[in-house]
């Protein structure tokens, strides 16, 4: 039973150990080495059926809180969700299916961080508006953010946090 195995004992320690075996000091470092890769894929890599994506996210958030880098982890997560939603990249205008993928990716990103990980930094109204703008954005065909430092992502997350006038 993978569920029992995944959640039993000291899973924090277990994941950190596996990350360190791969030559990284923190889970953040390990994840940063693979920008845009989904947490599900990272969980499989660290131990298929033994590590859950949500556990990795939990550790990433914990580390971000400790190092005061919450905006960075938000951007990092968003990039992964967008890659997962549109593996072949952007196509303007988004058709109904692609639009649905992006909308759901944004919803996953927002609700996971807000509800599961209790990050209450989102400005709900701004987040909604930024999301609508993103779905209507005229990005070149095949576009995807490269990583958390992508300017589109920086601007987007800043808006969600209410840091910039819309």
């Amino acid at each position: 039973m993978s569920y029992e195995k995944t959640w039993s004992g000291d899973w924090h320690g277990r994941i950190l150990e596996r990350v360190q075996q791969r030559g990284f000091e923190t889970v953040t470092q390990y994840a940063s080495d693979r920008p845009g890769v989904s947490l599900i894929a990272l969980a499989d890599e660290l131990g298929s059926g033994e590590v859950a994506a949500t556990q990795i996210r939990s550790l990433l958030v914990e580390e971000a809180i400790r190092t005061h880098t919450i905006p960075h982890v938000l951007r990092d997560q968003l990039v992964r969700e967008l890659h997962y939603a549109l593996p072949d990249g952007w196509k303007y205008p988004l058709d109904d299916e692609a639009r649905s993928e992006v909308a759901r990716a944004l919803a996953r990103w927002e609700t996971e961080l807000q509800i599961t990980h209790h990050l209450d930094c989102f400005n709900d109204e701004m987040t909604f508006k930024a999301g609508q703008d993103l779905m209507d954005a005229d990005f070149p065909t095949g576009w995807l953010p490269e990583g958390p430092e992508d300017p589109v992502i920086i601007t987007f997350v800043d808006r969600c946090l209410g840091r910039m006038p819309s």
């Binding site: 569920y3 859950a52 599961t116």
Partner: protein
Amino acid sequence: MDLPVGNGAVMPAGAQGQRSPTESFLLADPWHAGTSLSEGSGGHLPIVGDAETQCIGEAFARDLGDEALEQTIEYLIQRRDRTDLAPTDREVAIENLAVLAAESARRGRSTGALDRDAVRTLIRDATTGAQELAGVLQQLAGSRDGLRNHPVTERFLEQAVDRLIWVVDTASAGNSYIELATSASGQSSIALLGMAATRAQAARVGLSILQPWCAFLQLHDRVAMLPLLQLEYRYRVLDREQRSVQAVFTQLAGLDPDEITMASASVPGRVAVLATAFDEMIAEIERAEETQRWALRVQLVAEVLTFAVGLRGLFAMRGPPSAMSFPMPAIAGASGGAATMSQVVVSAEWIAAIRHLVEIGAISAVGAAEALRVRGFTSAMAQATDLPQLVKDLLGESPTTDAMKVTNTTGAGAARAPRHHVLPQEKRKFFEERGFKGDLDIDNFTVELETAHHQAQHGGGNWKMAKKHWPGEWNQLVKDRLENAEKKLRRRMTVAEIMKEITGLMKEREIPIRFVPYRRG
């Protein structure tokens, strides 16, 4: 004896102005109405021009991209199933399909089209079995001097018809899940195909007890035509034996995979009991014949007994060793008994479908072993197939051992793991409005998790996060995620989109994506 024989029997419909429920069912021909097994002729795909008319080689298959491979497979499956094509064209489709299936296996990724085809094979197998039995019931319904000559015995025929309708409906319900699986992907798709396979299996288990039961009814039908045995005696026997049939169908009704496996495991024993009752009936007929010879036309009794020998084979068709040791009916001069040797009637296609579904994880090895066993498959027969070793091993064990395994994986009886709705009950209306009703009722999407056990074992600490998942936190998460997505999307989500999100949530938490029906109490 002047009985209508075969499916071409003329229905005695409308003679009295109104049809009995039996007649209405038989005339309604439900499997043609509700069960669409082929997906239409489909359009012509430019990419498969070669695959359509000539045999393709491995090289051709290797050159196809993943998507083209999937499309070509799907297209060839449609061609294979088209009855309007020349046999040679369909043979080409079958051969090319084998090449592409091998290529798909080589790439190590399961192909949705092949996965769905495997489940369709199971459903088709169940509906074909049901059709055969419908022929028998049709015959019985056409005979007014047998079971139908008295309301108390006619009732048994009507109940058999009701059960057959359940079998057909259940098998057909599998198609809803296949359809949904078409727009899902990965584990979500496999879980949905597993649900379809569960329904096909339930239908099959139902048939496995219904078939000998119908043979039993056929015997009673003949006997009822002669003044051999009293109505009261015949009713008592039918009523007693029908309870066993009822028990199987009651256990199947919940469509719970574990219950189905246990019902399946109980079938050999029940068929053995039914066979004994059948033999006792024959003995009664013989005794009655001796004492009432003066009153009967002896020829008619001989005909009943010869007819019975033919029917007796239906009890031996399934082949667990215990069932094969039944005493065969000892009927004077009935050398036809040799023809009732156990025979296995499963197609290579069906076995291949079972293998495929075990490999992709849509059905469990225990479920597969039970599905094979109930069709009369023995361990020795399985050795000659390319079924997974685990399935072969399980077939070597007794049914009760397997059934125990089923209960053991979830904890026996009352100690079973609680089942949790993945689509929160408190939002039932929300889900109904988006298509989760009927076969897709949210009660059909629950998972087993031993949360209580783990709360006790790990209490707090690292378990804190996991134990919060159900029900409060999980329900909140699902609700917020779906509502948030709909708000952004500015429309309602479809069933397929919701399933994607839910199975994604499950995958992220390593919650096994295996749906079972909700169990109350």
